[in-house]
């Protein structure tokens, strides 16, 4: 279990997160719902050790991650697919995946991961030697997810994976994420612009407002909550 306890994070005197606590369990998809600037991306960065916390801590299976570098956190099985994908544009699809596998385990493990990724996203398998920048937006997002899977994660953090994608592709991507979580037993923490879609494909949801968690409920319940529907789900 990936556990965030009382995490407080800020930039130069401004607190972006106030004592945020949440849990991400294996084999489940957890959605974080909140408006722009509520602190969702900051939380993701905090978990990855990219921003030192002012207070609180992140635990993986009860063990504190405080003081670990991002690569050590990746090595322990927590991987972020960042907003904006952050691919290696001039490298091929295969090379992007290979860099993803830097800490992904031995050769056999890498081979299995590659098979998993190309099975999940067949289009990537067909375009292995194409430069990443020549892929379509949807394919690039698949590559970003695939690259993260190459690191053999146990917990996958996804920051706005469907931003800028056509609705049909968005739907497919969500379904793939759901599928991979179930097949590999991954714990997924999802931040998504299209909250309705994310809730449909997730088990548990947290609502974050102005840096504080204000609700923690089953996703199905949140879809029926009138105040949430008004605020985040577009009526």
């Amino acid at each position: 279990m990936l556990q965030v306890d009382g995490l407080t994070l800020g930039y130069a005197g401004i607190r972006v997160l106030e004592e945020v606590s949440l849990r991400v369990r294996e084999n489940t998809v957890t959605t974080l719902v909140g408006s722009n600037g509520a602190g969702k991306s900051t939380l993701m960065k905090g978990i990855m050790g990219l921003k030192p916390p002012l207070a609180g801590e992140v635990r993986l299976d009860g063990i504190r991650l405080a003081g670990l570098s991002t690569s050590e956190i990746v090595a322990r099985g927590v991987v972020l697919v960042p907003e904006g994908r952050e691919l290696f544009p001039k490298m091929t699809v295969l090379e992007n995946l290979q860099v993803g596998a830097s800490l992904g385990g031995d050769e056999a493990r890498k081979k299995r991961n590659l098979a998993t990724v190309t099975e999940l996203f067949p289009v990537l398998g067909r375009k292995l030697s194409m430069a990443a920048r020549n892929l379509s937006g949807g394919e690039q997002q698949m590559l970003a997810v695939g690259r993260a899977l190459m690191a053999s994660p146990r917990f996958l953090l996804l920051d706005e994976p469907s931003i800028g994608l056509a609705p049909l592709i968005e739907e497919q991507l969500m379904a793939s994420i759901r599928q991979v979580a179930n097949e590999l037993g991954l714990g997924v923490l999802l931040v998504e612009q299209n909250a309705m879609l994310a809730l449909e494909h997730s088990d548990w949801a947290y609502v974050i407002e102005l840096g504080r968690i204000t609700k923690s409920v089953a996703s199905a319940e949140l879809v029926d909550d009138p105040s949430i529907v008004d605020a985040y789900l577009g009526g």
Partner: protein
């Protein structure tokens, strides 16, 4: 034939030197102004090795040992440069630029004090000439062509085909993305700087018997490398290779035509000409 061989040797040298500089810049966005002095120190390492151990081992073994000596000396300088300067100034490229410029002068002064300002020359460790058709080429030049080409091609393979190389390119193209995949950007940065320094040093040792060895030889080589990288397009390996070939050819023809003293001028004019038409160089990314 003679001209083709000269072009080949000059191109491979330009390529090797420029690649080391481009590598460091591409990965760390840092210009190492002392790259030329690392090259010069490599040449002095060869000079020292051949004059000290040459008489007992013979010139050729001493010359070859000097490649390792140059790699060790410049590699250590690279480590020092990283630890003392680059690590703490990582987010201030201009300060690093000035600091490496200072290092470049310091190293020149140190070498002037140790060896004097007057140039040395290294007698060719491989005597004799080879005839290819009607062309005549000293064996020492053949050796340089093979050695420098091997170094360049080896570097290329390391970058394009190995796990380490992929990580280096990943950091160059997107440091944020690389960090998030668990690549240690600081480790890759240090490795690149040390590798770049060693390439400069080994090139210097290999090139030592050709042309003189002076405390100021690095500055001239660096100037040429900047022109090559800028014309090729900053950040583009292929651009650097193409520009190295371009200038290797131009410089060879000009030297043959007896216009060698106009080389620096012509090169600078070509650079400005290319930049005025293609501001990001021949193969550069448009920002």
């Amino acid at each position: 034939m003679q001209i083709a061989l000269n072009i080949l040797s000059l191109t491979s040298f330009y390529m090797c030197f420029a690649l080391g500089l481009a590598l460091v810049f591409g990965v760390m966005r840092v210009i190492n102004f002392a790259h030329g002095e690392f090259y010069m120190i490599g040449a002095y390492s060869a000079f020292l090795c051949v004059s000290l151990i040459g008489p007992t081992t013979g010139a050729l073994p001493a010359y070859i040992v000097s490649f390792a000596a140059a790699a060790i000396v410049t590699g250590l300088l690279g480590v020092l440069l990283y630890l003392v300067v680059v690590r703490k100034l990582m987010d201030k490229p201009l300060t690093i630029f000035i600091a490496t410029l200072a290092l470049s002068y310091m190293l020149q002064v140190v070498v002037v004090e140790l060896f004097g300002p007057v140039g040395r020359s290294l007698p060719s460790p491989i005597p004799g000439i080879v005839r290819i058709g009607d062309a005549i080429l000293p064996w020492s030049r053949v050796f340089v062509i093979v050695a420098i080409s091997t170094l360049s091609v080896g570097l290329w393979f390391l970058l394009m085909r190995s796990d380490v190389g992929r990580r280096v390119r990943a950091v160059a193209q997107n440091p944020t993305g690389a960090v998030l995949q668990g690549v240690s950007v600081t480790r890759v940065g240090m490795m690149t700087l040390v590798a770049g320094s060693m390439i400069a040093g080994v090139s210097g040792a290999i090139m030592a018997p050709i042309g003189g060895i002076t405390p100021f030889m690095g500055a001239a080589a660096l100037w040429k490398a900047f022109i090559i990288i800028i014309v090729g397009g900053i950040g583009s390996i292929w651009g650097a290779v193409a520009a190295a070939f371009l200038f290797g050819t131009i410089d060879t023809f000009m030297t043959v035509a007896g216009a060698g003293r106009y080389l620096a001028l012509t090169n600078a004019v070509i650079m400005l000409g290319v930049l005025s038409v293609m501001p990001s160089g021949l193969f550069g990314e448009k920002e």
